[in-house]
Amino acid sequence: MTHVSPPPLLSLRAVCKNFGALQALTDVDLEVRPGQVVALMGDNGAGKSTLVKVISGVEPADAGDIEWHGRKVTLARPHDAQRLGIATVYQDLALCDGLDVVGNVFLGRELRRSGGLDEVEMERRTRQLMDSLSLKVPDVRVPVATLSGGQRQSVAISRALLGEPKLIVLDEPTAALGIRQSNHFLDLIEQLRERGVGVLLVSHNLGDVKAVADWVAVLRLGRNNGYFDVNLTSQEQMISAITGATEHAVTQRRAEAEELEL
């Protein structure tokens, strides 16, 4: 079975990341395949955002292998990840406060025409994009510093959707979104899946996760603590893995399954 399936889009093996004495990630494994939505869950401080930053090249791993389409890659800078087609919505959004919405959405990949930037086209596309996502900002030409929390998150999401990312990494993307916007966003994730995009979704919301994810990877204290098929796992099992109520059962089973596969 292993030799016929194509290699995963992204696979991490034994990734470690320390901040001084603090081991934020220890031997973390993860796989995302095209058209797959993998949810990453875990308690506060479990290392989810650290893993996201490793994948996006923002804070490179100290140890471990990262493979893209089965080939080993180095993600030392955000640029490296972008070149592969990885787009990220960070937990802290990482917007340029003083730039307007258009400027933020297109930052680093501005459209050009003879003689400079094509502001008109960028503005048109930004409006289109935000409309199509039912994400609302008062005006695409105001600095994002003046936007509400949810509006800022909308901008970060639009930014990640621009272009044709192959893997989209979302760190609690709906934390600040309203009810309607959240739902619309979840629809969007399904559209992405249908287009064969890989999605890594960090979330604390079991409802959202059950709604859109195929698999759930759980981190606990910086280590893998289970990998579940959403449709075959109960909420209780997941919560146990996240909070550490039962650490063995599920992990065990998964580990055995992996051994068989190899």
């Binding site: 996006s56 923002v58 800078r77 955000p78 640029h79 972008q82 990220t88 960070y90 990482a94 917007l95 340029c96 406060d97 003083g98 730039l99 400027g103 933020n104 930052l107 680093g108 990949r109 501005e110 050009r112 003689g115 400079g116 930037l117 502001e119 008109v120 086209e121 503005e123 048109r124 409006r127 409309d131 039912s134 609302k136 900002v137 008062p138 005006d139 105001v142 600095p143 510093a145 003046t146 009810i179 309607r180 959240s182 739902n183 619309h184 979840l186 629809d187 399904e190 079991l206 409802g207 959202d208 059950k210 709604a211 859109v212 909420q235």
Partner: protein, 417 residues
């Protein structure tokens, strides 16, 4: 109701995957009315008003002040400081400060003099070497700041002192150096285009270019279905610009015609303005200025942009130094660098180049440096004592920043932040 159900269902953890039916679009209630107050307008209006008041005051003290000769002198004398100020603007947009520009200007003149007079290289080559050494110094400072994560004001404070030391070292015991006062550098401020057609032609070209760009942008925006500047406003702006440009041309023609220095300055201002507002480099500078980490995560090579910005600042400082050295055909005095820095910074700030990243157009430096030079000229004509002149320079910078802050607040209050 079906919508609401779907919403609560999904939000509530259900496993169903309903597609949300499209909901009524939110009213576009948030679009601020911007037609009558575009970004920077207020600052520019205030600047022009201040300039007019200044001129009238000095004219009252000395009736030669508004003579064509003096106004023409101002237009030439401002170029050196203006060049330096333009470099500073780029660094200010980064949210940083370059304290070393005055020293770099001085050092560049020393390099020029030594290479030209001592080593005997041709003047054009010496100019290139002097300017490139400014670029290299700027890039060096920028890379120190970027690579070690050291605030630029510290690196450039070291530069302020260090480059002065290097300049003194280069000049050796002579302390100063004279160069050919009929040569290339001397003619930078000494040459005028006496033909009346030159000044008027330049004014006409500028006005037409402005009109063409405005109209084309408006057309493209309309074609793309975006709100655009109404025709009336474009006509008004063009009219104001034309009036100013032709008045200036006429004054210049009453003295010796269009100064070469002014022509070069206008060309460089136009180029820098385009680079900052319409080119990817400018966008990157703005981005870094308002969120360095965000810019990094957007894949922008933060170090490269930072180094480039300081290289621009160093280059412009060297160019400015040559213009400042041109009238005396001698190297700039080492001690003058803090005052030079102050004037250039004041010009940059007065021009509305916000210090907080995100704003600042190169064109506005033109206004800023005009104010600074008008004051310098007036103070000299009225014969104010040097100690008081220093106080005035300091006061002008303070007034500039306070005015700028007022403009900024007004802008924020109008939702244009």
């Amino acid at each position: 109701m079906a919508d609401a159900d779907a919403l609560s269902d999904r939000r509530g953890g259900g496993v169903g995957r309903h597609l949300l039916a499209p909901v009524r679009r939110l009213a576009k209630w948030g679009t601020p009315v911007k037609g009558h107050l575009r970004r920077g307008d207020l600052g520019r209006a205030l600047g022009v008003l201040g300039l007019v008041v200044l001129w009238l005051v000095f004219q009252a003290f000395n009736s030669n002040y508004l003579s064509a000769r003096n106004l023409s002198n101002i237009s030439v004398d401002m170029v050196g400081t203006g060049m330096i100020a333009m470099g500073i603007i780029v660094v200010l947009l980064l949210g940083e400060l370059d304290l070393s520009v005055g020293s770099i200007a001085g050092l560049a003149t020393a390099v020029f003099a030594v290479v030209n007079v001592h080593a005997g290289l041709p003047e054009w080559l010496a100019v290139v070497i002097a300017v490139v050494s400014g670029t290299a110094i700027g890039a060096f400072q920028g890379s120190l700041s970027a690579r070690f994560g050291v605030p630029a004001f510290i690196v450039t404070l070291a530069g302020l002192v260090g480059w002065t030391g290097l300049m003194l070292y280069i000049l050796g015991t002579t302390g100063t150096f004279n160069f050919d006062d009929g040569g290339l550098v001397a003619s930078l401020t000494g040459r005028y285009f006496g033909d009346k057609a030159a000044a008027y032609g330049l004014a006409a070209v500028g006005v037409l270019a402005f009109l063409a760009v405005s109209r084309r942008t408006a057309h493209r925006r309309q074609a793309a279905g975006l709100p655009s500047v109404p025709l009336g406003r474009v006509v008004l702006e063009t009219g104001v610009l034309a009036a100013l440009a032709f008045a200036a041309a006429s004054v210049l023609n009453h003295f010796q015609g269009l100064p070469l220095a002014l022509l070069i300055f206008l060309a460089i201002v136009a180029g820098l303005d385009h680079t900052l507002r319409r080119m990817p480099f400018g966008r990157k500078v703005f981005a870094l200025g308002t969120g360095a980490e965000a810019a990094r995560r957007a894949g922008i090579d933060v170090t490269a942009v930072r180094i480039s910005a300081f290289a621009v600042s160093g280059t412009m400082a060297a160019v400015g130094g040559l213009f400042l050295a041109s009238p005396t055909a001698s190297t700039i005095q080492a001690t003058s660098s803090p005052t030079l820095l102050l004037n250039a910074l004041a010009a940059a700030v007065l021009g509305g180049g916000s210090l907080f990243g995100g704003h600042g157009r190169a064109w506005s430096v033109l206004l800023g440096v005009l104010v600074i030079q008008s004051i310098a000229s007036g103070v000299a004509l009225v014969g104010i004592q040097p100690a008081v002149q220093l106080l005035i320079s300091a006061g002008v910078l303070l007034v500039a920043v306070i005015a700028e802050s007022g403009v900024r607040r007004a802008r924020t209050a109008h939702g244009l932040a």
